[in-house]
């Protein structure tokens, strides 16, 4: 309203200035004066509302009468033809005002349409960018509120006997569930196109806490799947319908993405189970067979004492292998369940290396391990997890390199923490395998045919390091062999 008052004041000021100018120039020809006034009225009509233009027209007519038509200084008119001039002026200026106002309104409408279209377009883009997060629908409601500058937006979706409502905007409004149900029921009962509003009928309003909320059915095709509630900036019914259409598609898409994610998860867990069974099956079979046969051999006649000792040693080795497999499976389950806890203690790096070597003594028996420790000063970290991770790396190095080849362990402090590197002198990692070596049950393309190795070890290393907030990486050395490095955050000072 204040805008109209300001415009009216401006229009009247311009009128007064023109009047003063004409008086000062001593213009007395009624034709010249009325043309000048008409110009003022047209400018006003083009830039403001019809009402302002009409008031300006009447004021101009009065000025014309008062200042320029004899008797001057009076609102009476002496000569009859001046009456004609006066009313002709009023009629022309009113018609011109009206035409100008209509043109003005059309422009505004076009601008408004363009604006709503731009908003719809932006919203569609938001919908396309939507991910499969569980928050998707809440995010969608926020997008609608933001794109359409609405104070309140709610998407109400029927869920069993109740409604799931996703709200956004500046305030919370309690939607009446019964009204929602009624709106949806009427939208389901009939589909009627309202030619005047260029929209499907079925729009309703609901009043909550003194605010009018507009309800629009959310339709996918013509089928209503819920209700969109909006309050705040007035939005044209047709636009609201289009908006509801976009939102309905978005909801369908979100539900589809959610279903797809669920089925993807099921598939992954199935795959994991299959891989686990295959891996366990393979790795249990050999030791079990060897133990069974060797146990029979020990008591069988016809074996030399040396043979018997060999058989008993074989049994121990294979039991060791089974134990390791069992421990790995257990570690894996613990990591999966998030049941690995860290416990930092003051420890010497050499103790960690010794503990790790001890854990995989049997596997390492065929390799020469060289350890170089930069500074064997106490550090504070979880020695158990770190040693376990290192043990897996040592085991991996021993399994995937020729028997008897050397393995180098390098330990030093780095900016990130304690760094432990295991370098072997085997064939290295095939470039195609490098990105996958830490994946669960992944076995290198050349390792698949090998009997030992479960594809669990490196995955466990990664899991343990994640608990310790450290990291692990693999690389091929320029002069041959693979190097696995782990870094564990560790404090060297304040170790007490």
């Amino acid at each position: 309203m204040s805008g109209n008052w300001r415009r009216l004041a401006a229009a009247l000021t311009v009128l007064a200035s023109v009047t003063a100018l004409l008086r000062w120039l001593a213009v007395s020809n009624a034709g010249t004066v009325s043309t000048s006034y008409l110009l003022v009225v047209l400018v006003v009509a083009a830039t403001s509302r019809l009402l302002v233009a009409i008031v300006t027209s009447i004021a101009a007519m009065l000025c014309l009468n008062f200042f320029f038509l004899p008797p001057i200084g009076n609102l009476t008119i002496a000569e009859p033809h001046n009456w004609v001039a006066l009313f002709a002026f009023l009629a022309v200026s009113l018609v011109a005002s009206h035409l100008s106002a209509v043109a003005h309104a059309r422009t505004e409408e076009a601008v408004g349409r363009r604006d709503e279209l731009a908003r719809l377009f932006d919203l569609s883009r938001d919908v396309l960018m939507m991910t499969d997060s569980p928050e998707a629908l809440a995010v969608l409601a926020r997008s609608v509120a933001r794109r359409f500058d609405l104070d309140f937006v709610a998407m109400a979706l029927p869920h069993k006997d109740d409604w799931n409502v996703f709200e956004a905007g500046t305030g919370h409004l309690d939607l009446d569930r019964r009204d929602l149900s009624k709106a949806l029921a009427s939208a389901q009962a009939s589909l009627e196109f309202d030619a005047h509003a260029r929209t499907y009928a079925g729009h309703r309003t609901m009043t909550v806490a003194g605010r009018d909320i507009r309800l629009v059915p959310l339709r996918v095709g013509t089928k209503p799947i819920g209700i969109l509630a909006a309050a705040g900036r007035p939005v044209e019914a047709g636009t609201l319908d289009a908006l509801a259409g976009v939102v309905a598609i978005a909801i369908e898409r979100a539900q589809f993405l959610e279903e797809r994610k669920a089925s993807e998860l099921t598939r992954q867990s199935e795959q994991l189970k299959t891989a686990l069974l295959a891996s366990l099956g393979h790795d249990l079979r050999t030791p079990l067979t060897a133990i069974r046969v060797a146990a029979g051999n020990i008591v069988a006649p016809g074996l030399t004492p040396g043979d018997r000792a060999g058989q008993s040693e074989l049994i121990l080795t294979e039991v060791e292998r089974l134990t390791r497999l069992f421990e790995n499976t257990l570690d894996m389950a613990r990591i999966d369940a998030g049941a690995v806890a860290t416990e930092s203690r003051r420890t010497h790096p050499s103790e960690i290396v010794a503990a790790a070597r001890d854990q995989v003594e049997h596997t390492l028996a065929g390799n020469r391990v060289t350890v170089s420790i930069d500074k064997d000063e106490p550090v504070r970290l979880d020695p158990r997890l770190t040693a376990s991770a290192l043990a897996h790396l040592l085991e991996n190095a021993a399994q995937y390199t020729p028997a008897g080849s050397p393995i180098d362990v390098d330990v030093r402090m780095s900016g990130e923490g304690l760094l432990l590197a295991v370098r072997d002198h085997g064939p290295g990692i095939a470039p195609a395998d490098l990105p996958h070596v830490f994946e669960r049950f992944y076995r290198g393309s050349s390792a698949k045919a090998r009997a030992s190795g479960t594809g669990m070890g490196l995955w466990i290393v990664r899991g343990l390091l994640a608990v310790e907030q450290g990291r692990v990486w693999a690389e091929n050395c320029p002069d041959g062999g693979a190097r696995f490095t782990i870094v564990v955050p560790a404090a060297m000072k304040d170790v007490s």
Partner: protein, 232 residues
């Protein structure tokens, strides 16, 4: 008797090697398909024990190559998860299989049966064949159980003589279907099930617990001479 043991797992080599030696066999060990083929050429074993999971060659391929050169018995070691490989190996000419994990007696019994088949005269389709209380008279196409003649249809007789000719050896479903019904029938095991059931009713003392016509689940059938648990 010389046995070639092919398995890339050192643990199996170390356990099964002494087992076989302690029973008086000479043993050569090979850890890969290539080694196995070399050893087969150079040392002419009497029997091959072949693991199907080898690092270099498919076990079935090794089986095929050995069979192409020699009729010696091949016993396949396999995992339960590698059912198809096992059947393939049998179709390619392997004589028998043992599933890991196996016990020592299981392997030894299979080896004995396989070697005995080689030692025995090649079974022919003439004369008579005896197993337990069964007598098969090829010349007159008659089957007697305890001197009572069992009336067999021509197909039943064909199936029985096929299995008896390969007694103590596994024949895969596929191989039997092909031999009795022809190559177009290999995908129709129903024929075989029906015929085996009929045959069992006639020759088995207790068709519910067959002692001659023994099923090898998912693999095939075996005609067992003198009961399946017999040891020499």
């Amino acid at each position: 008797m010389r046995i070639l043991l092919v398995d890339d797992e050192v643990a199996i080599q170390r356990a099964v090697g002494p087992l076989l030696r302690s029973r008086g066999y000479e043993v050569d060990v090979a850890g890969s398909g290539a080694e196995a083929l070399d050893s087969f050429e150079g040392r002419t074993p009497d029997l091959v024990v072949l693991d199907l999971g080898l690092p270099d060659l498919e076990g079935t391929e090794v089986c095929r190559r050995i069979r192409a050169k020699s009729p010696l018995p091949i016993i396949v070691l396999s995992a339960r998860s590698a059912e198809r490989d096992k059947v393939n190996a049998l179709d390619l000419g392997a004589d028998d299989y043992v599933t890991k994990p196996f016990g020592p007696e299981e392997l030894l019994a299979r080896i004995r049966v396989a070697l005995r088949r080689v030692g025995a005269e090649e079974p022919t389709d003439t004369g008579t064949f005896r197993a337990g209380d069964l007598t098969i008279d090829y010349d007159r196409r008659r089957v007697l159980r305890d001197d009572t003649e069992m009336r067999l249809t021509p197909k039943e007789f064909e199936l029985l003589s096929l299995l008896v000719r390969n007694h103590d050896r596994v024949l895969t479903h596929r191989a039997i279907l092909k031999a009795v019904w022809g190559p177009n029938a290999v995908e129709q095991p129903e024929h075989l099930w029906t015929l085996v059931a009929q045959l069992r009713k006639k020759i088995e003392p207790d068709p519910g617990a067959p002692k001659y016509l023994v099923s090898e689940p998912w693999v095939g059938y075996r005609f067992v001479t003198g009961g399946r648990d017999s040891t020499d």
